[in-house]
Symmetry: C2
Subunit: 331 residues, 2 copies
């Protein structure tokens, strides 16, 4: 390759990584030789020598969850723009793989980590927190971690859900919860309570149904809901899947949504458009979450100082008013 162009390997290297350092004639000779031989530089050698991989590890709690597909699309855009690729580390809803993922980063196989799982992976050969590996948290914030974070305004949106229902005349508003150890669940529940208080309603006397973000737990909550007396006229579910399970079960029981019960979800998953009635919910800017996280991480990996105002971003989540909410039934 180098000899075909009549130059040293150093010059070939420069032609590929810093072409402006070469005389145009030399560059042209190398370029032509590269084209003719189909030469591709060996990445492992480059990484070893340059001490960077141009790769990021994206830690995902559950790759089978379509929510993350869109976030990953944003991540892809943000990273590829700057020449970075990414590896996906799937936790598959457990913590068993955390040590393995931590070690990938500790082995220098990636230049940084994007955490979508709300936790810094534990159990690696060394501590990731104590390392100087750039990390950024996206979607689920990591409390206490001194890294840039990008999340949505969970609390504000939940407050707004209650305000919206109260404006429609609802006074008995129930909450369908996510898993209690989950960060976004706690934020949304907190916002729900604040919203109740702000609307002059009692958060204490509100009904709370337990759930775990699955369709099945929405079904179970609906069953409990049907037994509740007096029955609430509205329900705010901590995510769309549960809301959809709830609505479907209500309809099977002959309860008309939204005439007899109004329902608000959270996330804006694609399916919320397809159900009958269409679900009133909050649209999470999934792609934007991924894109911003990637952009922050690139800055960190380049060693750029991150503007403190940018270091913790809270993106707004617009309310989509659709078919599942209506005026409260007259008493």
């Amino acid at each position: 390759m180098a000899q075909l162009a009549g130059v040293s390997t150093a010059t070939v290297s420069r032609a590929l990584t810093a072409p402006q350092k070469l005389r145009p004639a030399t560059l042209a000779r190398v370029t032509e030789a590269v084209r003719r031989t189909g030469y591709t530089p060996n990445l492992a050698a480059r990484t070893l020598r340059a001490r960077r991989t141009m790769l990021v590890l994206v830690v995902v709690p559950d790759i089978a969850n379509p929510f993350f597909s869109d976030v990953l699309r944003g991540v892809d855009e943000g990273l590829s723009q700057h020449g970075y690729g990414f590896l996906i580390g799937n936790l598959a809803r457990s913590r068993a793989k955390e040590p393995q993922l931590a070690n990938i980063a500790l082995a220098g196989q990636v230049d940084g980590m994007l955490l979508l799982n709300g936790r810094i992976p534990q159990g690696g050969r060394r501590s990731l927190t104590a390392s100087d590996i750039p990390m950024v948290a996206v979607c689920e914030a990591i409390e206490g971690a001194r890294i840039p974070q990008v999340e949505v305004q969970n609390r504000e949106a939940a407050r707004q859900a209650v305000a919206h229902l109260a404006r429609l005349g609802h006074r008995r508003i129930a909450y369908l919860a996510g898993p209690p150890d989950n960060f976004v669940e706690r934020e949304r529940r907190g916002g729900f309570c604040e919203g109740m208080t702000a609307a002059g309603l009692s958060a204490r006397s509100a009904r709370f149904y337990p759930g775990d973000f699955t369709f099945a737990s929405g079904v179970a909550a609906a069953t409990a809901f049907l037994q509740t007396r007096p029955r609430p006229s509205a329900l705010f579910a901590a995510n769309d899947e549960m809301a959809i399970g709830f609505v479907k079960t209500m309809r099977s029981a002959g309860i008309v949504v939204p005439d007899q019960v109004s329902v608000v979800g959270f996330d804006g998953i694609e399916f919320a458009d397809f159900v009958e009635p269409t679900l009133t919910t909050f649209r999470q800017p999934r792609r934007e979450l991924g894109y911003r996280g990637a952009t922050l991480l690139v800055a960190a990996m380049r060693g750029e100082a991150i503007d403190p105002a940018q270091a913790h971003q809270y993106l707004p989540v617009p309310l989509l008013e659709r078919g599942s909410t209506a005026l409260a039934p007259a008493v």
Copy 2:
């Protein structure tokens, strides 16, 4: 590290990659030193020297499509079992990124490729087909490619869809198509026609509505369907998303599914359980597709001979009879 254990770097390397070659006492000394220092071998150096990366490139047509999330889960299981990790190459429904993905493999950044996109990526610095990089096609077969492939019995299932509807007494059965250049669409359409013939119905006189696998195209087909005279009593959609868009539009127009129109989908996406009525469809073994593809690829990367009987697998797709199909209305 090596000096802490009082051995050479060669011995450390053996302790990590071939412990059985060491005397237990030596191994113990090294293991202890590794533990105390938190030493992690540099992957780039290992790759450069050993000439393999233990990484696979998975080419996905659209990472935002939840269908692939489950396939990837199977891929993850199949690969991690053998110590391999994977990189995701997202084509984002276009071909613009093909050269880039081809070059990742050609640069030796991965040991093999898993193609979920029905095409060997083109436009790299060299030809991937002419290279000796192990490749396996999954989900969408690649016609003419001499590589192992894993797909589902698209044609057989489509035949079965028609047989099922014919058994229910339907005679005017329509087909809602996918994009004409798509491999699975062609298989399913072929199966539909064969099924019509087998049931003694005319495939020629059947109505074919164009579509592109999206919800929106199902809605459009429904609008056309409503104008059709005589109106078919059943429809087989080439995928679930279109089937759901179709059903939803039917219901909005006051047509009762399945009493007035029976609908069969394809894929068995999660949402097919949530819609009203639940969709009769074919459940694709997504995870299994990924797992088998990964297993075949591992064998190929290890240079093992692949049993010809295993080289092209057609997995069965069970029919799920649910709420969207019923006896044909009496004429």
